[in-house]
């Protein structure tokens, strides 16, 4: 972890008022992203990965969701700056690509109109120049017939084309960080690979940092430098991508890898699903949230939530894991 982190999230928590008592969808999450770095955040649905990103952009329903912690970006703590300053960060500091591109585009506006809107309103571009830039962006993301598409409505495009439009919109104001929240989930497998390749290429060409959120380790494997694995609102393991795949430590990470089909190995054994269901965040199990499903669970796991600690001697630098059981293993 470099000291000149671009985005530095520290002890971020998001709490909602529950039926009986408040519950947390994001709990004590810290991570850093250096300029140009690609971070993957992986976990099952409902583990808090999207909540984390929406909290960073302050796009959660504000009086309901209670956000605590620090979100340092460009010398500001985003958690505390006024709404107007926050708006200036959105789009031009941090861009967001959300998952379902049909519902993420305004059905009543043409592609050109919604793409160009902030360029004209906030970046002082003339309408024609803004549309020109939008056409270039659509070209950049490989949308066929880019110029003609400016006049199309979202429902006239295919799923893959819409996702490309959404990516073009997210990078239109030159953000330093691009957050892609499950950008390929709604797409066919072949289109998925294209869109991932596109995001990777854009990150390199434009020098952006990338935070890629997915429930699929396979999706983040190819294009990220580091990965954080989340479970029940917390980061349970974080490491460099190669380290995480070569030496996964947390039982949950191992279970995720074991449940993933591998193309590079002969299929010797059946895929192993993870037994049980993710916990109800309103009533999390005591102690380590994963222990009811954990193969290594032992007495004491239900006692207290373990800390996220750096793996000692022999481990790779910056490999952290939230499990005392595996820490006792000899590496």
């Amino acid at each position: 972890m470099s000291s000149q982190a671009l985005l530095d999230v520290e002890r971020l928590s998001v709490a909602y008022p529950g039926r009986d008592r408040p519950f947390r969808t994001v709990d004590d999450v810290s991570f850093r992203v250096a300029p140009g770095e690609a971070l993957g955040i992986v976990g099952e649905s409902g583990c808090g990965k999207s909540q984390t990103m929406l909290a960073v952009l302050r796009l959660l329903p504000s009086p309901v969701a209670d956000i605590s912690g620090a979100i340092r970006f460009g010398g500001d703590d985003l958690a505390g700056i006024p709404a107007k300053r926050m708006r200036a960060v959105r789009g031009s500091g941090i861009g967001l690509v959300s998952q379902d591109a049909l519902s993420a585009l305004n059905p009543a506006m043409t592609i050109g109109a919604q793409m160009a809107e902030p360029l004209v309103r906030y970046d002082g571009m003339r309408r024609r120049a803004a549309l020109e830039r939008c056409a270039e962006l659509l070209d950049l993301v490989g949308l066929p017939g880019a110029r003609q598409r400016l006049g199309s409505y979202p429902h006239e495009l295919s799923g893959g084309m819409r996702q490309r439009v959404l990516i073009a919109m997210a990078i239109s104001r030159n953000p330093k960080v691009l957050i892609a929240d499950e950008p390929t989930t709604a797409l066919d497998v072949t289109i998925q690979a294209q869109v991932l390749g596109l995001i990777d290429r854009l990150r390199r060409e434009l020098g952006m940092a990338l935070i890629l959120i997915s429930h699929d380790l396979g999706v983040v494997a190819g294009i990220t430098d580091r990965i954080a694995v989340m479970y029940a609102g917390r980061i349970v393991e974080t490491a460099s991508t190669t380290d995480l795949f070569d030496r996964p430590r947390h039982p949950y990470t191992r279970a995720l890898l074991a449940s993933m089909p591998r193309m590079d190995e002969e299929l010797r054994e059946r895929l192993r699903p993870i037994p049980g269901l993710p916990p109800d965040l309103e009533q999390p199990p005591p102690g380590c949230a994963y222990h009811p499903r954990c193969l290594l669970a032992r007495a004491g796991c239900e006692q207290s939530m373990p800390q996220l600690v750096r793996i000692g001697a022999g481990g790779a630098p910056d490999h952290r894991v939230r499990c005392p059981v595996v820490l006792e293993e000899t590496p």
Binding site: A108, P118, A170, R173
Partner: protein
């Protein structure tokens, strides 16, 4: 868009025919002898028979309808019994007054209703949001003629701020005078619709504001006011426009009560007088006019819908 508008306009023709049929049959169904009503109780049976013959009331119903339609096309709606003038001229001199009153009321109700509903929806559960719910309940629970009377008692008789009846003061006229006379009836007419429109806008805005594309706009730095005006309202308004259209039709007929309470010289007051004097041609004419107004408003609503929703436009 143009094809849609033309096609939708053509659809009005059969509806209009249906309307004429309904108003014509209305005249047939209402009991009572038009000739007797016209000639008075001292007339002889021979005189009545002669008049029926002259008016074509002895013809078969179908022939009468064809004649009625033919007259309609030449702008002849018959003779008003109570006014002793052609129905057309009675309605013609009053329609502008009704349009002025109802039109102002619907514009006020629509603008304020959409604004208040949106304003409340931007902070669900807040004091202003709950205030809206209470206000809606209140204004939808009170009858308009009672509300009108209360307004007259308070502002005209009590505070002596505004005139209570008529359209102009004696010896008055001029814009200021008419506007002063309009204030109370417009409030009376608009209150009910305003409440309905505000409630509808609130729920429509709440539904749309949670959409992903609203988040997309915010995530690109678009300001909250602009998000609401450019991204939320265009997607929320189609359902609101439908309600506004229905309310506009409602106001047209609701004007009967309000115009009567405030003695506003419009179609509504004429209809009220026509009903109390069994003036069947005038009743028919007034209802036909209101019904045609309703059809036109619906056409306008559908065209606006298409304008807001590109998917309809292309269909």
């Amino acid at each position: 868009m143009l094809t849609f508008t033309v096609r939708r306009a053509l659809q009005m023709i059969p509806v209009a025919f249906g309307v004429t049929l309904a108003t014509f049959l209305l005249g047939q169904i209402i009991p009572g002898d038009q000739a007797a009503a016209l000639l008075g109780p001292s007339s002889s049976e021979q005189e009545r028979q002669a008049l029926r013959e002259e008016m074509g009331l002895n013809e078969p119903v179908l022939t009468q309808y064809v004649t009625y339609l033919g007259n309609l096309f030449t702008g002849d709606l018959g003779r008003s019994l109570s006014f002793g003038r052609p129905v057309m001229s009675v309605l013609a001199e009053r329609i502008a007054n009704t349009v002025l009153l109802s039109g102002t009321a619907i514009v006020v109700a629509a603008l304020l209703g959409v604004a208040i509903g949106t304003w409340a929806a931007m902070k669900p559960g807040s004091v202003r949001d709950r205030g809206l719910t209470v206000g809606v309940l209140f204004f939808n629970s009170i009858p308009s003629f009672w509300f009108g009377l209360v307004l007259i008692m308070t502002f005209s008789l009590g505070l002596r701020l505004l005139p209570a009846t008529g359209m102009t003061s004696i010896g008055g006229g001029g814009v200021v005078d008419v506007v002063a006379h309009m204030v109370l009836p417009v409030i009376t007419l608009a209150a009910w619709s305003l409440a309905v429109i505000a409630r509808m806008t609130r729920s429509a805005v709440l539904e749309v504001i949670g959409n992903d594309y609203v988040r997309t706009a915010r995530s690109r730095g678009v300001g909250e006011m602009r998000v609401v005006v450019r991204h939320v309202l265009p997607n929320a308004l189609p359902s609101v426009v439908t309600v506004i259209g229905l309310q506009a039709g409602f106001l047209l007929s609701g004007a009967v009560l309000t115009e009567t309470v405030f003695s506003w010289p419009g179609i509504g007051l004429a209809l009220y007088q026509a009903i109390s004097t069994r003036d069947i041609p005038l009743i028919q004419g007034g209802i036909l006019l209101i019904a045609i107004g309703f059809v036109l408003i619906n056409f306008l609503v559908d065209t606006l819908q298409a304008y807001f929703n590109p998917k309809i436009k292309l269909a």
